[in-house]
Symmetry: C2
Subunit: 203 residues, 2 copies
Amino acid sequence: MVRRTGRRPGNPDTREAILAAARSAFAEKGYDGASIRAIATGAGVDPALVHHYFGTKDKLFLATMNSPIDPIDIITEATDGDRDEIGVRFVRAFLRMWDGPRGAAAVALLRSVVGTEWTTKLFREFIITQVLRRAVPRLGLDPAEASLRVTLAASHLVGLAMARYVIKVEPLASVPSETLVAAIGPTVQRYLTEDLPGVFPEA
Amino acid sequence: MVRRTGRRPGNPDTREAILAAARSAFAEKGYDGASIRAIATGAGVDPALVHHYFGTKDKLFLATMNSPIDPIDIITEATDGDRDEIGVRFVRAFLRMWDGPRGAAAVALLRSVVGTEWTTKLFREFIITQVLRRAVPRLGLDPAEASLRVTLAASHLVGLAMARYVIKVEPLASVPSETLVAAIGPTVQRYLTEDLPGVFPEA
């Protein structure tokens, strides 16, 4: 039952209460262990209201993280075209997000991620559920190799974001993004689609 | 003049006072702007005592950062041998440090680096003065290209450390280090020594 007074649809307090309950549920129990029902109970609202405000559990989780982007959008853009250029498109889409209006939110997210154990755990859940589980299947990789290939690429991109947008070390912080696309695109391509001797058994 | 009572050589308070004064001086004025004399004054000790405790300004700065390693040691190891294997040796030396007894201190450093503006600034100074200025010339790269080449490689390694040791995302967190050497070594090699079309003008 939605109460008539206090937290109602359209009330910003309700939205915040759901986010706060979701944040602690995801941090405590992980993505899979945190149910919409339990989150609703924690926020003192009806589960239907959680769906009303946030849609799916994935979308609620992205909102909880203050994620400036749904990773699936970057993967969709990267996979839309010639497979030999997936690395270049991936880096380009990634940098466009950081250089755009949502970049400041991304910096805040990255800073918060390593601040405490529980924010780190939330970010790990984010990588597992939103990147590896939800977005990666669209890449069409060998399932036995996909997770290591994608985490290799992701580790590079997280480090690039750290160096360019958080630590701001020169000249990396100021070079045009297309310079970085030319440098790092082939690396991401290699990690995602090429033979990696010594990493996977030869075909 | 060293005071007879209170802060004396061998007194841990003296060491801590020097570190605290150095930390705020480096954060406020940068590495070049912070003089040993001003740090000594800030700590209420004689400048000779700063040298006695910490040796050079570089060593004092590394101590201020709680750096678990002197970057020059990793570069020395990477450059000791066949130039075609510099990337592989670089990644191996880097991972050995993180997997060793100083790994926990390195995780603490990386967490603290992005916590606040001033720790971020200290880390930027660390990269500029200890990695780019002091260690990189030993790589024997074209000076016009060295800084971008090295920051490309460093961004990947910082991201690898984040993903493997801080966020601990699988399977990256658990694969043997030699698997990562095989995957990432060629990337570092390419960034440091190979042609990078679209990044630098063709020779």
